[in-house]
């Protein structure tokens, strides 16, 4: 199944990455090569095999529902692009 320019543009939109048409075309050429490689694995019959989501089939541990972190928002917001009154500022969404 060949990848199309539309596919690249749709994925770029879903991934929230701006691409103009020239770049999308260049990316398409490279991704086409990568997907040729990926297609090799699609030919293999995997019926009856359980998907392996993780390196080891262990149950993730639940932890007690307790507060373990202190409020450190000032410290963490020091690295934010734009903050006011403890809130992250973004462009207006609702007029």
């Amino acid at each position: 199944m060949a990848l199309k320019l539309d596919d690249v543009q749709r994925a770029a939109h879903l991934a929230r990455i701006a691409v103009d048409e020239t770049e999308a075309k260049a990316v398409l050429a490279q991704l086409t090569r990568v997907f040729e490689l990926i297609e090799q694995m699609r030919a293999v019959d995997v019926s009856g095999i359980e998907p392996m989501a993780h390196a080891q089939d262990l149950m993730l541990r639940p932890r007690p529902d307790q507060v373990t972190e202190q409020d450190q928002h000032r410290r963490f917001q020091q690295v934010a692009p734009e903050v006011e009154n403890g809130l992250y500022l973004v462009p207006r969404v609702i007029e």
Binding site: A12, A15, I17, R33, L37, Q40, E50, P91
Partner: protein, 485 residues
């Protein structure tokens, strides 16, 4: 002093032959002299380093020292270190000063180790040559026209060039072992879950694992003793009793059963690499090991499987870089959507954008089962191959990389060629097994060759034993490139 191992430095400090401050200053001087031409470090901060060294000397004077107290090391710039610029090799995080320590950094500091700086790497650990770094490439100290491998290329080159006695690295598809191989040093990727991923910037969470890089197997064990251990803040961190990974170093290897996968010695392997690996196996036979041919029939699928799973996990992990809470934000934008899109287009380099797009595509509606679930099923087949193989052998050996270091720019135009340089390492990550690379010779051009040793789950102590015994009868690990010592 600066070509010493961790063990030797630890002994010198204990004997009072030098202070931690003197040692740190020595490395800082060398870094100031050579780093510019090699690009190993993204950030050095002599003042901070010397403060840590002073504290280590005080700790020793107070009688509180443990083996690695006062010994310096470098951290890959993927580990958050409080107060240090932590960039992950990306423009996206080029202004990010970490507000906390990664578990690995915390453990090293608790042992009194001194941070020399943060090492260069492929952007977000996506690369096999260190050429995708926003901060420029790293050059291989054995031949500066060649790459050091990646993604832990800065860590590997720093150790090889004697700009650090050891370094931390991370390995998602070979990112510790391949650069270790290409720069003639030792590197170990532990069993998945042994070292906490807390504060280690995520690439592909089900594959990422941190590990040590150093000159000798014994040093890897010393550093792993510090790095490994349970951490409740990483839900995949395993609860296991503490162990001394160097406990079996002295054990003879007679009777060791070495498995050689025929798939590792097939087409694509450079003859000079094969010669060096064959010679290493012959050395093990002399030490009394036996050799059995094994098969890993699904191994050739590991590269395509990896290039579905790793980008899928990455596309999800990297969605956090949106220009809102930290990192780069575009200067100009029309609205919120435009801000996200421009921020991410500007902040990520070409390879990272490419992998995010692959991951987004394979996870998108209508393709999820055909790509992502299919790849997860094949991952199980690849892991099963190893389980079967370990019924016949104690360790698996082969080349770490199909070639020695390639030239800068040689593979950067074709992503698939670059991806294939991890053909022998990726399957180990998919299975979650421990793997390591140790130097085992040189090609005709004087570039190092690495021997890969793959162990069964939690068999790090045996792997270090196997590597250490080889290093007692060979001196490849003692060689240093010209012009660095």
């Amino acid at each position: 002093m600066s070509n010493a191992t961790l063990k030797e430095l630890s002994a010198q400090l204990a004997a009072g032959a030098c202070s931690s401050v003197e040692l740190a200053q020595d490395y800082i001087n060398k870094i100031n002299k050579i780093n510019k031409s090699l690009g190993c470090y993204i950030t050095v901060d002599a003042q901070r380093t010397l403060e840590q060294a002073k504290a280590a000397d005080a700790r020793r004077a107070a009688g509180d020292a443990v083996p690695l107290t006062g010994v310096p090391l470098a951290h890959k710039d993927i580990f958050c270190a409080e107060g240090w610029l932590t960039t992950c090799g990306s423009k996206m995080l080029s202004n990010f000063v970490a507000p906390y320590d990664a578990h690995v950094v915390e453990r090293c500091s608790a042992a009194g180790m001194v941070t020399l700086g943060k090492t260069n790497m492929d952007e977000f650990a996506m690369g096999s040559s260190n050429e995708t770094s926003h901060f420029g490439p790293v050059r291989n100290p054995w031949n500066t026209a060649t790459v050091p491998g990646g993604s832990s290329g800065g860590s590997a080159a720093a150790v090889a060039a004697l700009l650090a006695p050891a370094a931390t690295g991370t390995d998602t598809g070979g990112s510790i072992r391949q650069p270790a191989s290409l720069t003639g040093i030792c590197g170990l990727k532990p069993t998945y879950g042994l070292v906490s991923r807390y504060g280690m910037i995520a690439f592909a969470s089900s594959l990422d694992q941190a590990g040590p890089m150093a000159h000798t197997a014994e040093d890897l064990g010393l550093l792993l003793n510090v790095m490994a251990g349970h951490d409740p803040r990483d839900s995949t961190s395993l609860v296991r009793p503490a162990e001394d990974y160097n406990r079996d170093l002295a054990r003879p290897v007679s009777g060791l059963r070495i498995g050689l996968p025929r798939e590792f010695f097939a087409a694509g392997l450079a003859p000079e690499v094969q010669r060096a690996v064959d010679a290493a196996v012959a050395e093990y036979r002399k030490l009394g090991a036996t050799v059995v041919e094994i098969g890993l029939p699904n191994m050739q699928l590991s590269v395509p499987v990896y290039y579905v799973l790793a980008p899928a996990e990455a596309s999800s992990n990297l969605s956090r870089y949106d220009g809102v809470r930290y990192g780069h934000r575009a200067a100009e934008y029309a609205d919120l959507m435009d801000m996200y899109k421009r921020t991410r287009a500007e902040g990520f380099g070409a390879e990272v954008r490419r992998r995010i797009l692959i991951g987004t595509y394979v996870l998108s509606h209508g393709y999820y089962d055909a790509y992502y679930i299919h790849a997860q099923k094949l991952r199980r087949l690849i892991a099963r191959d190893f389980t079967e193989a370990f019924k016949q052998c104690d360790v698996i050996m082969g080349p770490t990389s199909p070639t020695t270091a390639f030239r800068l720019g040689e593979k950067s135009a074709d992503p698939v060629q670059m991806y294939l340089s991890d053909i022998y390492t990726i399957a180990v990550n998919l299975a979650g097994l421990p793997g390591m690379s140790i130097p085992c010779g040189f090609d005709g051009g004087g570039l190092p060759v690495g021997l890969q040793i793959i162990g069964n789950y939690f068999d790090e102590a045996r792997m270090l034993n196997v590597a250490h015994q080889y290093q007692q009868v060979t001196d490849w690990h003692r060689r240093a490139p010209q012009g660095v010592s």
